[in-house]
């Protein structure tokens, strides 16, 4: 942080320009991929016509196919990708740990637990996202309750998060073993994260909620930036670091749970995207948060395109693809960082 303050303003401007350039590129890629995703399928439509059909222009047949069948899936991929990436970026900053993500602090386990429990009771499909949201918040409750000891220390949060994740994953595992084969298969499909069978109702409710949570995250950025300076400095600047971190964490976990409720806990988007953005545009600021959201949306949509049109396995969940692509890159990143001398963190 001191390095940034000491740097000449030229460096800061250059970083802003770079962030803006990458954001424009990501936005262009987003539009292109959206067009391709809307146009590809059993009925082939050109990307341009597909985008026009999305806003209700063009032949009625195209409009029907695009608006009713393809758009819900594409839109939910975009929303969930953006939400997961923003949540991951926030978690890594709040935990001051490059490996914090919904996968490692228990949100994934909680959302899976809620959804699989709902599958077990045989309730209707519409209730599953609600149950996943509830599960994610349950994980937040467990995390806060177990890690709380007069204040939230970061290391303790990280390690307690691991415990919460493993405990909830055990509960999910128990149900998968107990289920009949058919139900076990759909439970695994859900817990890996997939985009099949999204409806406009789900997308509009989920999208509104994620939008609100994301807006709240953006409004809190100033506070997060102060927390980035370290608890002592933040305290000196008039913040109560423990309490602020708790509220920000709750907000972030809500965002991650909402995204997980829409698509299931898609692995590695939340973990990998913030690292990618850091490589492209430097340390996190308000500007890079927008780039983070765009990148998350592009990556999830791209992974879904691979699932639908490139990989010849029927019914593969998108989470399997994001993990397969994201994991090796992240492992290499970790191993390479291991060679560097220890940074003070």
């Amino acid at each position: 942080m001191t390095a940034i303050a000491a740097a000449p303003t030229g460096a800061l401007t250059r970083r802003r320009v770079r962030t803006a350039a990458w954001s424009v590129l990501a936005a262009a890629l987003l539009v292109l991929l959206t067009g391709i995703a809307l146009g590809t399928g059993q009925v082939s439509i050109s990307a341009w016509d597909a985008l026009r059909a999305l806003v209700g222009q063009g032949s009625p047949g195209d409009v029907l196919v695009v608006q009713e069948f393809r758009a819900p899936r594409v839109v939910s991929a975009l929303i969930a990708g953006a939400g997961l990436a923003m949540a991951g970026s926030m978690l890594q900053r709040l935990f001051r740990n490059p490996l914090a993500s919904p996968d490692t602090i228990g949100v994934t386990g909680g959302a899976s637990f809620g959804a699989v429990l709902m599958l077990a009771t045989g309730a209707s499909q519409q209730l599953i996202p609600l149950a996943a949201l509830g599960g994610g918040l349950l994980a937040a409750l467990l995390l806060g309750g177990l890690a709380w000891r007069s204040k939230l220390a970061v290391t303790r949060l990280v390690l307690v998060g691991l415990a919460v994740q493993q405990g909830l994953a055990a509960a999910v595992n128990l149900m998968i073993v107990r289920f009949p084969a058919e139900l076990a298969s759909s439970a695994m499909q859900w817990t890996t994260g997939s985009l099949y069978g999204r409806t406009w109702t789900e997308v509009s409710i989920g999208g509104t909620a994620i939008g609100l949570a994301a807006a709240a995250v953006v409004l809190c950025q100033r506070r997060v930036a102060v927390l980035d300076l370290g608890d002592d400095s933040a305290g000196g600047l008039g913040l109560d670091p423990g309490r602020d971190r708790m509220w920000l964490l709750l907000l972030t976990i809500t965002l991650a749970s909402l995204a997980a409720a829409l698509t299931g806990p898609v692995a590695f988007v939340a973990l990998a995207v913030p690292h990618l953005v850091r490589l492209l545009a430097g340390p996190p600021t308000l500007g890079t948060l927008g780039l983070t959201a765009l990148t998350g949306a592009v990556l999830l949509l791209g992974a879904d395109l691979l699932v639908l049109h490139v990989i010849p396995v029927h019914g593969l969940p998108v989470g399997a693809v994001t993990a397969t692509l994201g994991a090796p890159w992240l492992l290499v990143l970790m191993i390479r960082q291991g060679r560097l001398p220890q940074r003070s963190s």
């Binding site: 996968d103 490692t104 220390a153 691991l162 055990a170 128990l174 396995v313 993990a323 994991a327 560097l340």
Partner: protein, 344 residues
């Protein structure tokens, strides 16, 4: 991170502690283990009176109950003893070698690696019996351990929090690959999901015999390096200046962990938390000296495993819960408590 008592490792400096305490505690633990094994033979969906059990073991009784004891519960208990001992010892060595109280076969990604290898083998090669899984489980465990170790190095030294998180990330990766394979084929899903829960039920001794040599070698290795682990607890440089070949001890320890934990996974499937819990249970009782810690874990491991197995048989009688799920449920709160301790 690990609060070790340096005086415990320099043996001449500790004449204060009565020499009888540790052997007595070990004997008490052994007694508890025998009791637990007897319970494991007697309890289950069908409770068998102790007299019938004794007759069956000596070969004087035959028929329904006696066959249950000799045919099902004796192999199950023996496998439980071997797997528990291997996991306990693996946990003690892993925590000693990495100087990290959170290290265990699970946090090192060994279980997830073995799971992926086994599921891939089931998918590609149509395997159907746990006895066939052994070699794949071994290979997967070894590869995962190497990867976790490579990730947790930071500027040449091992970072404990990094190791725990790196292992978890590795586990997430391997688990999603495992799920993808299982979703691609219903046969694999149905075949593998029971093995993946971690269980010692329904296995015959022929699952254990091919692994036994590896467990023995791993155990001998663990005993051989246990004095050096005491020196290692003082820090790499201090150990080096005491004449301990640190790098070679690390490699030997890692190898022992892979042999022991890999063997255990190969027999029972991924059973969590025994390796983590056993050393933490033993340390307050016997102290930090690895020469006592290791035998202590050899008793505490099977004790925990058999107790969890018996518990799993009793809670949902006449059905049962796999031992791996019971240990995971009991272990998560334990990990939370440990995390609070480690992070002060």
């Amino acid at each position: 991170m690990l609060r070790t008592d340096p005086t415990a490792s320099t043996a001449p400096a500790t004449p204060r502690r009565p020499a009888l305490r540790q052997p007595l505690l070990l004997a008490a633990g052994l007694g508890a283990l025998v009791l637990c094994a007897a319970l494991s033979l007697a309890l289950g969906s069908r409770a068998i009176p102790l007299s019938t059990m004794a007759d069956a073991l000596t070969g004087t009784a035959h028929g329904g109950d006696a066959d249950v004891v000799t045919g099902l519960r004796v192999p199950r208990t023996l496998i439980g003893l071997a797997v528990g001992a291997a996991l306990g010892a693996a946990g003690a060595v892993a925590q000693g070698v990495t100087r990290n109280p959170l290290a265990s076969p699970v946090t090192l990604g060994i279980n997830a690696g073995a799971s992926l290898a086994v599921v891939a083998a089931i998918y590609a090669l149509d395997l159907t019996r746990p006895a066939q899984y052994v070699w794949f489980a071994f290979a997967g465990a070894a590869l995962a351990a190497v990867a976790a170790y490579a990730m947790s190095r930071r500027g040449g030294d091992l970072d404990p929090v990094r190791l725990a998180l790196g292992g978890t990330v590795l586990t997430v990766v391997l688990t999603s690959w495992t799920s993808a394979l299982m979703l691609a084929s219903h046969r694999t899903l149905d075949e593998a999901r029971f093995w993946l829960a971690g269980s010692i039920a329904g296995r015959q001794l022929d699952t254990l015999t091919p692994v036994l040599p590896f467990l023995v070698v791993g155990l001998l290795g663990a005993f051989a390096i246990s004095p050096a682990l005491n020196a290692l607890a003082l820090g790499d440089e201090a150990a080096q200046s005491l004449g301990v070949p640190v790098a070679r001890i690390r490699v030997a320890g890692g190898l022992a962990v892979v042999l022991l934990a890999g063997g255990a996974v190969a027999v029972a499937g991924p059973v969590a938390f025994i390796g983590l819990a056993a050393p933490h249970l033993v340390r307050p009782l016997l102290g930090n000296d690895h020469r006592w810690l290791l035998p202590g874990c050899l008793i505490a491991g099977p004790l925990l495993l058999l107790a969890a197995d018996v518990l799993g048989r009793l809670v949902v009688r006449p059905s049962e819960i796999e031992v791996g799920i019971v240990t995971a449920f009991l272990g998560a709160p334990l990990l939370a408590v440990l995390a609070r301790k480690v992070a002060r």
